[in-house]
């Protein structure tokens, strides 16, 4: 008769699926998604004309015995990491306060904000670049053409995803009541945002940060069209030498992104485990 959760601690208040249902869904979908990756790995293991498989290429890459043409990768990875950090910072500093403000104080602007945040994804990057090029011309003359300035364009690109992630969370928590409670207890606005709302938005912010990092690491078009070097453009250059090594490097960059996101998630959740004063 009881529908209360059976699992260990609910992620939400909904009744959890039974163990076998959970694992069958995850295993089936997981396998389907693993297959293309496995096919890529199989391709890299091929030994060539003799047939069979070996790890020689993986050894080559992992021991760093690649030629000088691969030096561009190291620099590119650094660039991408800087861009990822800058983009997440911009997102948190610019987007989140605006969303909170609109949600709490300017509800009539919600549709406008939603449209604005959905616009970047409606326009393919190759068209957006036609318009971004003059803006970046101005920026280049004012602040140089370092790769960090791409963060402005990237923050625009992640707007749709970050908005949806944070908005889902905002809708879920009762932000109005929380704010009123905090304000009535004498909190100033920065305190309200920093110590009341943001901790409750942790899931949404983390999801937004995740997708921002993923977008930045996977972005190719704008960097390529503005002739800047990031991870994906470097991969394309590297691809031209040896297709097998290229696939290995692509797989390693996926792994790198995966580990980076794991670390970010860990840091984000470590904060959640500190004892909080609950409402």
């Amino acid at each position: 008769m009881s529908v209360v959760t059976r699992g260990p601690g609910p992620v939400s208040g909904a009744p959890a699926p039974s163990r076998w249902l959970r694992w069958s869904i995850l295993c089936i979908i997981g396998t389907l998604f693993a297959v293309p990756i496995i096919a890529m790995v199989e391709f890299t293991l091929r030994r060539g004309l003799e047939g069979g498989y070996d790890f020689s290429r993986w050894m080559l890459v992992l021991t760093g015995s690649l030629g000088p043409e691969y030096r561009v990768l190291g620099q590119a990875i650094g660039n991408s990491l800087v861009l990822a950090a800058a983009t997440v910072a911009l997102m948190i500093v610019l987007l989140v306060p605006t969303m909170i403000l609109v949600h709490l104080k300017l509800p009539r602007w919600r549709r406008v904000l939603e449209f604005v945040c959905l616009l970047p994804i409606s326009i393919p990057a190759i068209v957006l670049v036609v318009g971004l090029a003059p803006v970046y011309g101005v920026i280049a003359r004012a602040a140089g053409s370092g790769v960090w300035s791409l963060a402005f364009a990237y923050s625009v690109l992640v707007l749709p995803f970050a908005y949806r992630a944070v908005q889902s969370n905002l809708d879920a928590i009762d932000a109005q009541t929380l704010t009123e409670a905090a304000r009535s207890l004498g909190a100033s606005w920065p305190v309200v945002i920093a110590r009341v709302l943001l901790p409750n938005l942790r899931t949404g912010l983390l999801a937004g940060a995740f997708i921002s990092v993923a977008v930045v690491l996977g972005e190719f078009t704008i960097a390529s069209l503005l002739n800047r070097q990031n991870l994906q453009t470097a991969l394309v250059i590297v691809q031209k030498d040896d297709p097998f090594i290229a696939v290995i490097v692509a797989l390693l960059s996926l792994l790198f992104a995966f580990l980076l996101l794991l670390v970010i998630g860990f840091i984000g959740r470590a904060g959640a485990n500190r004892p909080r004063r609950t409402s």
Binding site: P36, P120, V130, G131
Partner: protein, 311 residues
């Protein structure tokens, strides 16, 4: 406890004088500075990096090669080839968005009850983040290696099971072949953006439903689904937009013809043989924005109906 009643409304000029408070808590009172100023930084940023480039890009659709104003490019949108492109794009995006949303929601459902900081959840979050943006040449090659003519699965199916998936022609390198790669990044994207929405389901509702004698099915049908509907629809819209404007994977996988609009835009901008059609790209982009605006209005309509179930 989920609510706290304010003991008494705080008035302006309270003893705890702060110099940063903007508006008072009582909603009817507004100070001289309206909260609209708070959106100014964001508005400026968006104006510089989104509105302005969009306007410039769309503006190219209204001029011809020499810069004179013309409607020719817009008129070219009526070309059957272009209409075909839009139809294919819309259908492809809608199908992959729907499948992606459903499968993604299923994965989110499977994650209910797991510890938020447990290993399973962390790994799935990270994997979704990575795969959601995995696209372009590498994704195309992954699918070539999997279900291409000489792909791993194709060969296995042919040799072991005797099934030839390409018996009626190779569909992988045309528009239908894009469905699978698109789903490959739609599902992880859905998982990422929809999981926070599950926070909305309060335990009290499940308990209340149980107390009132409801089954799990009723809970889902009458409480959880209506509450989750707005976020689900929002995510669906995002998935649609994501598929609609993505072109790197399509460019790598389908080399002949431009079956979807982003490929037509790219052909107009970068063709080596048919020169001088760059301005058509602006017109096509305008068409894409119009389609997105229509999709957004549909979404707003659905939202309004879904909102009836809330509160």
């Amino acid at each position: 406890m989920t609510t706290v009643e304010p003991r008494r409304p705080v008035r302006r000029g309270s003893t705890a004088a702060r110099d940063e408070s903007s508006a008072s808590t009582a909603p009817s009172r507004r100070r001289a500075i309206s909260p609209s100023w708070g959106v100014a930084p964001f508005a400026l940023y968006v104006a510089l990096f989104l509105a302005l480039p969009t306007a410039i890009a769309l503006g190219t659709g209204f001029v011809d090669g020499e810069g004179a104003f013309t409607f020719d490019n817009i008129a070219a949108l009526g070309d059957p080839f272009v209409i075909n492109g839009f139809t294919t794009s819309i259908v492809l995006s809608a199908v992959t968005a729907l499948i992606g949303a459903v499968l993604g929601a299923l994965v989110c459902y499977a994650l209910i009850g797991t510890r938020p900081d447990g290993p399973l959840r962390s790994m799935i979050d990270a994997a979704s983040g990575v795969l959601a943006q995995f696209g372009g040449v590498m994704l195309a090659f992954a699918f070539v290696a999997t279900i291409g003519i000489q792909g791993l699965i194709t060969v296995q199916l042919r040799d072991v099971f005797g099934i030839d998936i390409f018996a009626d022609g190779v569909w992988l390198y045309e528009a239908p072949g894009l469905v699978l790669p698109y789903i490959y990044f739609q599902v992880p994207l859905m998982v990422i953006i929809f999981l926070p929405a599950l926070e909305a389901l309060k335990p009290q509702w499940a308990e209340a439903a149980a107390t009132l004698g409801g089954t799990t099915a009723t809970y889902w049908r009458r409480i959880a689904l209506p509450v989750l509907a707005p976020s689900f629809l929002g995510s669906l819209l995002l998935l649609f937009a994501n598929a609609f404007s993505s072109y790197a994977t399509a460019a790598a996988l389908t080399s002949q013809g431009q079956s979807i609009v982003p490929l037509q835009i790219r052909a107009a901008l970068t063709s080596e043989t048919l020169l001088g059609r760059e301005n058509l790209a602006g017109a096509l982009a305008l068409g894409m924005i119009i389609v997105m605006a229509i999709a957004m209005s549909l979404y707003a309509l659905l939202q309004r109906r879904a909102a009836r179930w809330q509160r």
